[in-house]
Symmetry: C2
Subunit: 224 residues, 2 copies
């Protein structure tokens, strides 16, 4: 489902060039559950953003579900993202002036789901992450872990074929983290593909495969 | 150093009142190293913000280093914060248009440290958290864990008598988290007071005392 080759990403800052990714190959088959691990600053979020069609590599090729992403324009990318991809950002990226419920409804609005069904599905997802009583709260009226769970609910609400989650349990106690991991496993058991970035070895243990990134390169890629 | 009694915090949202803290007593002596744990949404950040003089309780009394905080005006609170308190926010709260170095210098500017000494001390702190090469980057040019480390460096740069840190290792791999915990222990060994919120039981194990919060109340408060 993901076939990325020789992915490079560099940032020019005046006279200095920061090479966040230095030639990464990632191939993920349908239905795999993979964790990405690596030190802070090693390039994990940069890689995930590229695989989630939120950013373009400086060079390299990337096919998503058999189609070349490099040849798509921004409109086509947005369409692919909405139809197939759920993304949990490391910094949540919720709409600040919308409620938790409105934030979770957003992917369903893009998918043109009728408003009553949209509201029911969004509320059901908020209930699953334990936030039914917080549906009307805006992000600045929520705790850190509540915002993280709203971001997770939003990513899961369309039942995406490919879920990309950037450190999704970092702000959660272990019981709440368990609820979230069970939801990911449930999505996985329906045949979907999961790619999780985590710093937690306990979480990584639950994946079928662990990809370790070091200094912008793949250090190891092993079945779990 | 901290004597807080019957702290309540409620938020009015239309007809609903959310009681984030329902009568919490916290007493912390000079030189203690305490961890606060509890489920997502239980009230930890709300409590930490009040103890760090960043927010006021709805009711209750709070003495900091023997002085009543309730009777201070905002100017006096700001002065107390700058002189005695280092605060690591759960969401980092860095100045978006300033570099990492400028962000770390900020408490030294308030403390009227001369510019050359200020720059040297801020750079030394960035080096300790492994970010010397990122000194010129703005927050949106940094990884999640790099932003967290800048927030930590800023909180530590004045060598505060009271360090309050809200989930300071949530975005860090274990090796980088170890570096940060060693810096906290070093500050502690100089006689300073540390209050850490964490979801990580491995981190909590390193404290002298664990305070568990549940639904806005203290569930337990035990020596470690
Ligand atoms: N401005 C606000 N208005 C209404 N409710 C709020 C507001 N801020 C926080 N809350 C609620 O108060 C409760 C406690 O929030 P707090 O941020 O202290 O939780 P926490 O223990 O730090 O959680 P986490 O581990 O997820 O960071 C949460 O349930 C939250 O929804
Ligand atoms: N816009 C940018 N300009 C310059 N450098 C950048 C930019 N964005 C990221 N970087 C650098 O690229 C490197 C990789 O960043 P990335 O966010 O992928 O790291 P990460 O592995 O996700 O780290 P963490 O575990 O801390 O979240 C970092 O060292 C960071 O400083
Ligand atoms: Mg990251
Ligand atoms: Mg919190």
């Amino acid at each position: 489902v993901v076939d990325a080759r020789q992915i490079r990403k560099s940032y020019r800052m005046g006279e200095v060039v920061v090479e966040a990714l230095k030639g990464v190959d990632v191939r993920i088959d349908h239905g795999e559950f993979t964790c990405i691990m690596g030190a802070s600053g090693s390039g994990k979020s940069t890689l995930l953003n590229i695989l989630g069609c939120l950013d373009r590599p400086t060079s390299g090729t990337f096919d998503l579900m058999g189609r070349s992403v490099d040849s798509m324009d921004d409109g086509e990318l947005a369409e692919v993202r909405n139809r197939f991809i759920g993304f949990v950002f490391q910094t949540f990226n919720l709409l600040p002036r919308s409620s938790a419920l409105q934030n979770v409804e957003l992917p369903l609005i893009y998918a043109r789901v009728p408003s009553r069904e949209r509201r029911e599905r969004a509320m059901a997802m908020l209930e699953k992450v334990g936030l039914a009583s917080r549906a009307g709260h805006r992000p600045n009226q929520l705790s850190g872990g509540e915002r993280q769970r709203v971001a997770i609910a939003r990513a899961l609400v369309t039942g995406p074929a490919l879920l990309l989650a950037d450190e999704p349990t970092g702000n959660l106690d272990s019981r709440t983290g368990r609820v979230i991991m069970d939801m990911f496993h449930s999505l996985h058991s329906e045949g979907n593909t999961i790619l999780l970035v985590t710093h937690d070895p306990e979480i990584a243990r639950e994946a079928g495969r662990i990809l370790r990134i070091k200094d912008g390169l793949v250090e190891s890629d092993t079945a779990n």
